[in-house]
Symmetry: C2
Subunit: 188 residues, 2 copies
């Protein structure tokens, strides 16, 4: 599987069940969410904005997606809704690895591009290193309609959280959406 196929297969509506293990306290908490993943074209304004923020050459190939969630934590009536975009920019000499761009979520936070890598086992690993934090997420498909995600956050004082999300495709059918592989033009 390559990064384009991974994006294609991710597109659609998912039921996400997340469990976080707090490693120091040995406690866990659960949350559930409807998750929608949409493929973005390379000239989508949010993709173009990320390219500009990270100073990426606009002629480079990219794969962009928007994730929208509507979540609840166990034991809480409060809903958490939101969305984010991310963009994968393959290395020119090896498309199985590359930059992984996310929007800046707080003013003044240093701009750090993550890295992605598709392994021979078809798992996608995302890694981001900040000055005081290290973040790794691993995603793969147990089947076209069952996606697995595990993320680990390490802070200066050690690992703090490991989270597991199982995601079941709603409706049970494969996506029809196509990843838009295109190059940015100077006019986009």
């Amino acid at each position: 599987m390559n990064i384009e196929e991974f994006f294609q297969l991710s597109a659609g509506k998912w039921f996400s069940h997340r469990t976080s293990h707090h490693l120091a306290s040995k406690q866990s908490e659960n949350g559930k969410s409807d998750t929608i993943i949409e493929i973005l074209s390379s000239d989508d304004p949010e993709v173009v904005k990320l390219y500009q923020q990270y100073n990426v050459d606009p002629s480079r190939t990219c794969y962009g997606a928007k994730v929208t969630w509507n979540a609840t934590m166990a034991g809480s009536e409060k809903k958490d809704t939101g969305s984010t975009v991310f963009v994968a920019v393959p290395d020119e000499d090896n498309p199985n690895e590359g930059k992984f761009l996310r929007p800046i979520d707080s003013a003044g936070k240093p701009l750090v591009a993550g890295r992605y890598k598709i392994g021979t086992d078809d798992a996608l690993t995302l890694t981001t290193e900040y000055e005081t934090m290290w973040y790794e997420e691993r995603l793969w498909f147990a089947s076209p309609n069952l996606r697995m995600r595990v993320s680990v956050v390490k802070r200066i004082d050690g690992f703090s959280t490991a989270s597991f999300t199982s995601e079941i495709r709603m409706g049970g059918s494969q996506p029809t959406a196509k990843t838009s592989q295109a190059t940015h033009s100077a006019s986009s």
Copy 2:
């Protein structure tokens, strides 16, 4: 990382926190365990027994381990204790893949050797296909002292369970145990 290094790094005493997601009911349950992983030599009686059960040529290289657990499920006072052994037998032309042998756990069940594969992302994937069931487990180290495990069980009627286990090495130091890489001799 190769299979020998994966075994070496797995040796030791771990605190295991497991969460199972029941995919149909969308319910989850938690369990905790102390887990001890010991490397077995190739002439250990339990390793030899597995070789015989699976008709593996005793001259083949193997890596064996014994896993002992002492677990409790959330909301239950009942302890679950037990142990099992497993043996990895690398393919002769590619040691990053091979057979993965486990003891038979019920009389009359067909003898099915699993497969292991080490990916370029250093994750170990174990797969076993039975007549009515398919089992996949993926393991990797977020750090030398933090191991991640995700298993998925698919039955004839669809996926039934996805389980996540985070494992923290007790004591926080790396193992001193060495994998015994040796070949069986006819006399073993």
